[in-house]
């Protein structure tokens, strides 16, 4: 088990290194930031000074080395546009993204499991078919277009909910949170629903498939034969057995929610990391792009590592394969 964990950690570190080289080399190829960052009126001395200040005059490998050295100490450069450390910008925006992603996960779980259960118990019924048709739509509809339609219907036509921003926030240990104020919740509903849609469809499908499988099992047949009420069969024997894998998947998908939040945040002007990334790309703010990418890569590597370890803990077959 220990060798497996160590090997897996080594792989993660290697992946991180490869990604950092790719990201850095790629960002370097974007173009000449000098042209974008320095006003055309600047004279030669000013240009030279700025290049020296940003370290753009050194060879590529040296720039990478400097970057790596400072990255390991948590210093990922200063944003060209905002003149604050890039990592500070990202970390400032991170709570908003996490709040959005977690709310979306909660929505997906709270709606997805009952709907999936219903569709699994009565697959041929009108309700079951509608739920499945809805989940096909949820998979097919592009997130950004659904977001636009939500704004169109609930903000523009009906005027029920605000379309942009986070609303009033409350600081908890210095972290601003929206879901603690009524205004914040009103701002949270549309983007969180938008982000949850794909997850919701996924959970509906998983729960439905799990339910149908569980209903075929002997323990359900025996429970019924024993005279357990249908309600208890579902609650104790079906639901409890499918809950663990379904909730696990919901948790694991947190990573892709954070990635998809880029789209949702842009549409709803939600001030999270994703919107920051798109804004930074538009003004070619290199340090922020690099910092975002490294933060998200770290996040994913950690999530993937946890997933693997969790699977190993849950399923001994995986462990055997890994150490062989």
């Amino acid at each position: 088990m220990l060798t497996f964990v160590l090997r897996r950690l080594g792989q993660s570190a290697l992946a991180l290194f490869v990604m950092s080289v790719l990201v850095f080399a790629g960002v370097y190829a974007i173009g000449n930031p000098v042209d974008i960052l320095i006003s055309p009126q600047a004279d030669q001395a000013e240009i030279a000074q700025t290049i020296a200040r940003l370290g753009l005059d050194r060879p590529l490998w040296e720039q990478y080395w400097l970057f790596l050295k400072s990255a390991l100490t948590g210093d990922l450069g200063v944003s060209y546009a905002a003149s604050v450390p890039a990592i500070t910008l990202i970390l400032e925006r991170m709570p908003a993204t996490l709040e959005l992603a977690l709310t979306a996960t909660v929505i997906a779980i709270v709606l997805g499991i009952p709907l999936g259960l219903l569709a699994g118990l009565k697959p041929e019924s009108w309700a079951g078919r509608s739920i499945m048709a809805g989940s096909i739509l949820g998979f097919s509809l592009p997130t950004f277009w659904v977001g636009l339609m939500l704004i169109m219907v609930f903000s523009v036509q009906l005027g029920w909910l605000p379309a942009t921003g986070r609303g009033t926030t409350v600081e908890v240990y210095g972290i601003p949170l929206s879901f603690l104020t009524a205004d914040g919740i009103r701002h949270l509903i549309l983007p969180a629903t938008n982000l949850a849609l794909f997850q919701l469809s996924l959970l509906i499908r998983l729960t439905r498939a799990g339910t149908r499988e569980a209903l075929q099992q002997d323990y359900v047949r025996y429970a019924r034969a024993k005279g357990v009420t249908e309600h208890n069969v579902v609650r104790v024997h079906v639901l409890r057995n499918i809950l663990i894998p379904v909730v696990t998947v919901a948790g694991l998908e947190l990573g892709s929610l954070i990635a998809f939040a880029i789209v949702t945040e842009t549409i709803f002007a939600w001030p999270g990391m994703g919107k920051l990334l798109i804004d930074s790309i538009n003004v070619l703010d290199r340090p922020v792009i690099v910092a975002y990418l490294l933060v998200i890569v770290c996040l994913f590597i950690v999530i993937n590592l946890l997933v693997d370890l969790l699977y190993t803990a849950l399923d001994p077959r995986v462990r055997l394969q890994g150490t062989r």
């Binding site: 960002v27 998979f139 097919s140 509809l141 277009w145 880029i262 798109i278 990418l293 994913f300």
Partner: protein, 294 residues
Amino acid sequence: MKSAVALSPAREFTRGYARDRIAVVALWVLCALLLAAIAAPLITPQNPYDLAQLDILDSKLAPGAASTAGYTYWLGSDDQGRDMFSAILYGLRISLGVGVLSTVAALAIGLVIGLIAARGGGWVDALIMRVVDLQLSFPSILVALILLALAGQGVDKIIIALIVVQWAYYARTVRGAALVELRKEYVDAAVCAGYSSVRVLFRHVLPNVLPPLIVVATVQVAHAIALEATLSFLGLGMPITSPSLGLLIANGYVHLLSGKYWISFFPGIALLLTIVAINLVGDQLRDVLNPRLK
């Protein structure tokens, strides 16, 4: 002789496909969309990208309004006085073209790499599969965004990004299928007959791993189209000179808040129809061609 033998599986396939009425409708819709996209210059009242044909006085007209040139804007017009119906068909061309092209290219690249991994074995296999695993552990939207953030905009760049996002998936599937095939007797027979391993791989193994992949690729075209639309919407995809459906939707976004819904809404419907139709056709193809379900 040959045609008589080939006809009956074809008939069986047609019958199997037609069993699901929704899938048949989806197929018709898809054919109609493809035809409309191909024939766009012939059936649209206006070339939306010929500035001489645009009239700024016609800008942002509601659906059903008459243009100064005499025809009707059935789906309204955008802020440049462009007929949305024409713009959508031209956009559909670009979306479908990019989706199909990138999927076919990714399929080809994934096939070759997957076959090399399966045949090569050892460190070649290990290296390729590590790269595949690493890439597949990130959501495709993130990989595509990173690439486009680094490489900049352009039709060529978005196609490359869509290929990069998809190839690993095919490579993994092909490797798995090819490993199974390589253990079969016909491969031993071909090797004994003295054929080179390249020939065995591409003439004998490839035809056996290809059919299920083509079905997968059908559905992947829909993913590619959706991804391209998303990236274009974020302003990282197609350049303004080749407006895909995603870009049309993005252009209408600013007018959405003032109640001019049609500039975003109708391109979205076209996108939705395309994606759903492709998905339904792909699902049905998979079910019909899956021998386990017979």
